[in-house]
Amino acid sequence: MTIAGALTTGDVISLRGITKAFPGVIANDDVSLDIVGGQVHCLLGENGAGKSTLISILAGMQQPDSGTVAIGGEIVDISSPKVAVDHGIGVVHQHSTLVPAFTVLENLMLGETGVMLDKKRAAERLAELADLLGVQIDPHVLASDLGLGQQQQVEIAKAMWKGSRLLILDEPTSMLTPQAIEHLGESIARVKAQGLAVVLITHKLREAYAMGDCVTILRGGRNVGTIGVDELASYTEDQARDAILAAMFGDDLAAAGESASELAGAAEATLESRSIDADTRPVRLELRGVTSRASGRDVEAEDVTLTVREGEILGIAGIDGHGQAALAEVVAGQRSASSGAVIFDGADITRSGVHSRQQLGVRYVTDDRLYEGTVGSMSVALNLVIKRIGQRPFWRSGRIQPKAVDTEARRLIDEYGIRTPSPGTRAGTLSGGNIQKILLARELTNGARLVVVNKPTYGLDLKTVRLVREILIDFAAKGGSVLLLSTDLDELIELSHRIDVISRGRLVGSVVNDGAGTAEKVGQYMTGAIEGTDR
């Protein structure tokens, strides 16, 4: 079976004047671009630049308000995902679309039209695609048992299942180890060699340069610059970076200066905070062989031993869902430890509840900032003091003191730069970045000594990411301790003094973050422990 409907090299999918508005924002404003077979076309831009909207239009998930899509010169109306599939447009979404409870094969067969499930034919097609991508995929394993790198391989196979002419990858590298990213690069090159067009969405410049043949930059929903094939090939990496940054940030570049390139992940991430003489500092938090227990289906922390010293940021690296939440909650007191001891400032707090740990200065910024972290229907001001319920001066004899609450809220709003119309605004109406600032303001104030942060910058725009990281560095510089759980390796390397790697609830390795090579070491621990078959 050959790839049906593949473009001959040089064939074109052209978008012309694509405009799409949502209430309050114009996500795409008159965007035009050409996607050519046999090339990798990188789409770059900040969060909210309109990349995702553009691809959901190509994928048939959304219809443009105006503008046209033409394939090989013929205008097509991509009115549903099915039409997109029929035109050979396959999308690998940022968030997995695999059904966890289905096997690989069942996931791939979903959407077939015949009456009976044809497992034999499907297995053949999978073998064919695995061969093309240069990967090995076990067809009978449950999707939920796959590592993220393998899940993505299945997603790519799924996107190409019906014969593809265009493969769209939406931020495919954001959750992968460095080794898995390399693998992905090889697969993309093989797909490209088959004459397919590839659209790669990323916000990391060095990936765009390494994998892309041409680059289009979106900003504020507009196409603000394209670097063609010949042009990009003639650039050195530095020249390409400057050209992309100029388009990405426009006039802001001068003002943003060096930080702009950091923002865009142009350079290798490096440690921002000064190295500290860790050994001489007192231990703030110590876990001794802690195993957590809860009734849910989460991966639990197993026999975790770690120390965090005063003024230290300890990073915990790991693929999402490998016990990070359990570890964070067992420190915060939201989950009980079935064995082991949690020692804080020399005192055993294993049996203490959330409230008494709060009083001691143990704080927790959850990754579920919308539901667990804030009450969306309550005001910003109340969300800022909600953990001090019943305490003076905000509550007196059981009654809330609006004035005191308001004063404190204004102070925190000022200090942390929370952009809200007023302290009385409902927290749920703010952007994700501002909600995260509410959480940080609430947890880091009033005697915080240790803060546990889980995925603190996930899904935030670049400027807020910068700000959140600075807040954490600042907190540590003033003697606070941070336990930073993150899936973003660059973030861990930028902030942490040491990085432990978690896998299936256990710490499997520890790396001192002292310069080049940290990413590879951490990546090896993650790879070795999790994706043994996915070298």
């Binding site: 549903s80 999308v91 968030h95 679309t97 695999l98 289905f102 067969m109 979903l110 499930l117």
Partner: protein
């Protein structure tokens, strides 16, 4: 006492188990279909009653049990249309709609029955048996199992067919994905609306069939609130069976056993208060819930209306 355990007694006992288990099984299979597609139907009690009543009326008018069963199925589909339109298409809350369907089903069938049939309570009599040559000559079991009405066999075949379809066909895969992760089905080019609509209608037909089986074959008459909580027991069994239709069949038999064992005890001479006997099936369901509830797994997308693009 030992001579009470005669062949005839065992035959009657097995027939009772089956007669009690079948309506529950059909309804629970219907509920399973809906839940696998992500639609929790709390209205199944009402749907069963509508099916039972329409089946009863149609059989009285036409004189045919077969057409009566068909009428029951159609009645069930009609009752489930509310779920289809209000929930699947318009995205309203499944729990509210489900409870409304139950209340409406109970109310409408009671009123109509009292209006039309109280003066001359009607009974349907016996449905002719389908004797399977050879098999029905087996002593004891032969008479109980192989002298059932043809409707029994059709229902069993229907259930087995659905179990097969759910596991082995593209339709089954789509249906299950609509309950697991509808966005995946959508992205794969399938239609969540069409898949769920079909599942809801089939679910209604099966619940209606269950109701009709109850009124036509098990009790041979209709009375207000005939189902007496059977629909809710079907929901319990569905949740405990985790979408496996064969397990639904077995659990239904256990229920049938619980219902049949009480009268049997009385026949063999145990004096058990009638109240205890009536309680027995419910006690068994509660015990099953206590023992197995922790392992009950519902599809992740159960109860959530699907809107494309919403996370």
């Amino acid at each position: 006492m030992s001579d009470m355990l005669s062949a005839a007694f065992v035959t009657v006992f097995i027939a009772t188990v089956i007669a009690q288990a079948m309506p529950l099984m059909l309804a629970a299979v219907g509920e399973t279909l809906g839940e696998q597609a992500g639609v929790l139907n709390l209205g199944i009690e009402g749907v069963m009653l509508v099916g039972a009543y329409t089946g009863f009326v149609v059989t009285l008018t036409t004189g045919s049990f077969w057409i009566g069963m068909l009428g029951g199925a159609i009645g069930g589909v009609a009752a489930n249309l509310a779920m289809l339109i209000l929930n699947v298409w318009l995205g309203l809350n499944q729990i509210v709609i489900g409870l409304a369907i139950t209340l409406i089903g109970e109310g409408i069938t009671s009123v109509l029955y009292l209006q039309n049939y109280t003066k001359s309570p009607a009974s349907l009599g016996q449905q002719p048996k389908l004797t399977l040559p050879g098999l029905s000559d087996i002593p004891v079991i032969g008479q109980a199992l192989f002298q059932q009405s043809g409707i029994f066999w059709i229902c069993i075949l229907l259930t087995l067919g659905l179990a097969f379809a759910l596991a082995r066909t593209n339709w089954g895969l789509s249906t299950r994905s609509a309950g697991q992760k509808p966005s995946s089905l959508d992205a794969a080019g399938g239609s969540v609306m069409r898949t769920r609509s079909m599942a809801v209608l089939l679910s209604g037909a099966l619940a209606g069939l269950g109701g009709a089986y109850l009124s036509l074959l098990t009790t041979a008459t209709f009375s207000p609130f005939l189902t007496n909580g059977l629909g809710f027991i079907a929901i319990v069994i569905t949740m405990l069976s985790r979408g496996r239709i064969l397990v639904v069949m077995i659990t239904s038999l256990v229920y049938g056993l619980a219902v049949a064992v009480g009268p049997a005890l009385q026949v063999v001479g145990f004096t058990v208060p009638a109240d205890i006997i009536k309680m027995l099936p419910f006690i068994i369901v509660i015990v099953m819930l206590i023992v197995f509830a922790r392992s009950s797994v519902v599809p992740p997308a159960l109860g959530a209306p699907y809107t494309r693009g919403a996370r």
